[in-house]
C-alpha cells in the first residue's frame, strides 16, 4: 500500500509539473493580456506532433524535442503576430470564437497531414528501463520528466521573481495600464510571453508523448485541466499556477488510484464499483467548486 501510494504520488507530481508547464504560459496570457486562449491546448498537440515527427526523422528523441519546441515557438510567434495581436483588444466573445476556430483548424490540419492514427514516440533508449528508488522500481523516463518539470519551474520562478523582465510581467498582470504608462514595451512583452508559453506547451507535449498517445484531440482535455489549475491558482499568478498544478496533478492521480480501493472499504462492492471511477474522475472539479465557493478569485489572485 505504501509503495503504491509512493508510486502514485510520484506520478501525481510528474503530471502536476507537466500541467504547470501548460498553465504557466496560459495564466500569463490571461492575466497580462486579459485574453482567453482556447487554442493553447492545440499548441500542446501540435508541439507533440512536431516533436514526434522530428524525433522520427532524426532518429533521436532529444533532437526531436529540441526541434519540436523550436518549431512550436516559431508557430507561436506567427500566431501572435498575425492573429492574437488583433485579439487582445477585442471582447472575450471574439477571443473565444477565434481561438475555437483555431482548434478546428489545428485538429483538421493535423489529421490531414499525419492521418487519424496516433503517432508513436519512443523515449530515449537509455531511459526506457526502470530504476530502483527506496526499495521499489520506477520508470527512469518519468523521473526525467519530473527533473525537467522541477528545472523549468525553478527557472520560471527565478525569471519572474528576480529578473527585470519578470518584474514587468508581474506588473503587467496586476495593472496593465500602469505598466504601459511606465513606458515598457508592452507589445514586445506580450509577444515574448506568448512565444514562451507556446514553447512550454510543446515541451510538455513532447515529454508526455512517450507516455500518452500523440493524437488529435489530446489538446482539449488537457486544456481544460490547465483551466482548472488557473481557476484554483488565480489568474495571472505563476505561484498560483504551480500550486494549482500540483494540487490538480496529485489529487487527480491519487484519486483515480486510491479512491476505488478506499470506497470498497466503506461501501458494498457493487456500489463502490459504480461510484469509485465516477467520483475519481470528477474529484478535481469538486475541489475546484469548493475553492471557488470560498475564494472566487482563486488561491493567489494577482489583481488585488
Amino acid at each position: 500500500m505504501t509503495q503504491l501510494f509512493l508510486e502514485q504520488a510520484l506520478n501525481g507530481l510528474q503530471f502536476g509539473l507537466m500541467l504547470f508547464l501548460l498553465a504557466a504560459g496560459l495564466t500569463l496570457v490571461f492575466g497580462i493580456m486579459d485574453c482567453i486562449n482556447l487554442a493553447h491546448g492545440s499548441l500542446y498537440m501540435v508541439g507533440a506532433y512536431f516533436v514526434a515527427a522530428a524525433a522520427q526523422a532524426a532518429d533521436s528523441f532529444w533532437i526531436g524535442l529540441g526541434a519540436g519546441v523550436a518549431g512550436a515557438a516559431v508557430l507561436g510567434l506567427l500566431l501572435e503576430l498575425t492573429l492574437f495581436r488583433q485579439l487582445y483588444r477585442r471582447d472575450h466573445l471574439s477571443q473565444v470564437l477565434a481561438t475555437f476556430a483555431l482548434i478546428l483548424i489545428a485538429n483538421e490540419t493535423v489529421r490531414l497531414i499525419w492521418g487519424p492514427a496516433p503517432l508513436m514516440l519512443n523515449p530515449p533508449e537509455a531511459l526506457s528501463g526502470p530504476v530502483e528508488i527506496a526499495g521499489f522500481f520506477y520508470p527512469a523516463y518519468r523521473l526525467v520528466i519530473i527533473a525537467f518539470g522541477l528545472a523549468v519551474a525553478g527557472l520560471l520562478y527565478l525569471l519572474v521573481a528576480k529578473s527585470r523582465v519578470g518584474m514587468w510581467v508581474r506588473a503587467g498582470a496586476s495593472n496593465r495600464e500602469m505598466t504601459e504608462a511606465l513606458g515598457i514595451n508592452v507589445r514586445g512583452l506580450f509577444t515574448a510571453v506568448f512565444v514562451f508559453g507556446a514553447a512550454l506547451c510543446a515541451l510538455a507535449g513532447g515529454l508526455l508523448g512517450p507516455l500518452l498517445a500523440v493524437q488529435v484531440g489530446m489538446g482539449e482535455s488537457v486544456l481544460i485541466l490547465a483551466f482548472v489549475v488557473i481557476i484554483i491558482g488565480g489568474i495571472g499568478s505563476i505561484r498560483g499556477a504551480l500550486v494549482g498544478a500540483l494540487i490538480v496533478g496529485t489529487v487527480d492521480t491519487l484519486g483515480r488510484a486510491l479512491l476505488p480501493t478506499l470506497l470498497r472499504a466503506l461501501l458494498p462492492a457493487d456500489a463502490a464499483a459504480t461510484l469509485g471511477p465516477a467520483l475519481a474522475s470528477i474529484l478535481i472539479y469538486l475541489l475546484m467548486a469548493a475553492i471557488l465557493f470560498f475564494k472566487p478569485q482563486g488561491l493567489f489572485p494577482a489583481r488585488a
Binding site: 471574439s94 483548424i105 475546484m288
Partner: protein, 317 residues
C-alpha cells in the same frame, strides 16, 4: 448592442416560415426525400438549443462555454426515463428541463460570482465535469452512451414516426420562441439586457443583479435540456459526445453566425451551420478548416457583429 425590439416584418415572416414548415414533411414524402425530414428535425432541435444559449449570451450577456452540459443532461434524462419505463414526453421532457435547469442553477450560483475570462473557464470546467461523470458511470453506458430502445410518446402519439417527431419539435420550438420573444420585451428581458449593458448602473438602481442573471442562466439551461431530450429521441442515443465542450463551442458558433441578441439568431445560426456541414462535408472531409478560417475571418473583418455586444458601456466602478 441595442435593446431587443421586434421588427415589424418579423412576426408575419416567422408565421410564413412556420406555415411552410408545416407543409414540409408532406412535400418531402411526395418527392421521396424522407431522409430530409430527419435532417429538418435536427435543425429544429439545434435551433432550440442555440436559442437557449442566445438567451444567456445574447440577452443576458454571459459568455457561457458550458452550455453543452445542459443539452447533454437533457438527453440523458430522456434516455434514463425511457429505460425506466417513463415513455410519455409530457412527463419526461419537463423532467429533463427541470434537471438541466437545476444543474444550471447550481453552476450559475458558483460561476456568476466571477466575471470575464474567469466565468468562461468555470462554465467550461463544470461542463467537462459532467462529461467525465457520464463517461465513467457504467450504469449510464459509459463511453458508449445510453441508448433508447425506442422513441417516446408525446401526448399519446408515438414519436417513432419521423413526421410526428418533426411536428413535436416544431411545436416546442415555436412555443419556446414565442416565450423568448415575449420575455425579451417584458420586464425580465428589459432587466437582463440592461444588466448586460451596464451592470453597475442597474445595481445602483436597486436591482439585485446576481439574481436576475442566475434566473436567466438557469432558464437557458432548462431550455437546452428540452432540446437534449428531443435529440435523444431523434438519434436514439444519449451520447457523451453531446456533453463534450466542442459541442458548447458549436452552439456558440451557431449563435454568433445567426446574430447574438437577435431573437431568431439561434435559429438562423443552427440552420446555416448544419446546412454548411451537410453539404460541405460531402465535398471536403476536412471542412472544419474552411469553417475555422471563415470564423477567424468573421472576427477579424466583421467584428461589429460579434464585438458590438460587449464593447460599449462596460460597467465602470
Amino acid at each position: 448592442m441595442a435593446f431587443y425590439r421586434p421588427a415589424r416584418w418579423q412576426k408575419p415572416f416567422a408565421f410564413t416560415v412556420l406555415c411552410a414548415l408545416l407543409a414540409l414533411p408532406g412535400l418531402m414524402e411526395i418527392f421521396d426525400q424522407s431522409y430530409y425530414i430527419g435532417f429538418a428535425t435536427r435543425v429544429l432541435i439545434f435551433a432550440l438549443a442555440a436559442s437557449s444559449l442566445n438567451l444567456v449570451l445574447g440577452f443576458g450577456g454571459m459568455v457561457s462555454l458550458g452550455h453543452a452540459a445542459f443539452f447533454g443532461i437533457g438527453a440523458y434524462v430522456a434516455a434514463i426515463c425511457q429505460q425506466g419505463g417513463i415513455v410519455e414526453g409530457l412527463l419526461a421532457f419537463p423532467l429533463a428541463m427541470g434537471v438541466a435547469g437545476l444543474f444550471a442553477l447550481l453552476v450559475g450560483a458558483l460561476s456568476l460570482r466571477t466575471r470575464g475570462v474567469y466565468f468562461i473557464m468555470i462554465t467550461l470546467a463544470f461542463a467537462q465535469m459532467v462529461y467525465y461523470l457520464f463517461i465513467s458511470a457504467r450504469a449510464w453506458g459509459g463511453d458508449d452512451g445510453l441508448p433508447l430502445s425506442e422513441r417516446m410518446q408525446f401526448a399519446g402519439l408515438s414519436l417513432t414516426d419521423d413526421k410526428v417527431l418533426f411536428y413535436v419539435a416544431l411545436g416546442l420550438l415555436t412555443a419556446i420562441m414565442l416565450l423568448l420573444g415575449r420575455l425579451a420585451d417584458a420586464r425580465f428581458g428589459r432587466t437582463i439586457q440592461a444588466i448586460r449593458e451596464n451592470e453597475t448602473r442597474m445595481e445602483a438602481l436597486g436591482y439585485p443583479v446576481f439574481r436576475y442573471r442566475l434566473v436567466c442562466f438557469a432558464l437557458g439551461g432548462a431550455i437546452a435540456g428540452l432540446a437534449g431530450a428531443l435529440l435523444a429521441n431523434l438519434t436514439g442515443l444519449a451520447s457523451p459526445a453531446l456533453l463534450q465542450w466542442t459541442q458548447s463551442g458549436t452552439l456558440l458558433v451557431m449563435v454568433i453566425i445567426g446574430g447574438v441578441g437577435y431573437l431568431y439568431g439561434g435559429v438562423v445560426g443552427a440552420l446555416v451551420l448544419l446546412l454548411l456541414e451537410e453539404f460541405l462535408l460531402g465535398f471536403f472531409a476536412h471542412w472544419h478548416i474552411v469553417l475555422g478560417l471563415l470564423l477567424i475571418g468573421i472576427v477579424l473583418f466583421a467584428p461589429k457583429g460579434v464585438a458590438a455586444l460587449f464593447d460599449k458601456h462596460r460597467s465602470q466602478p
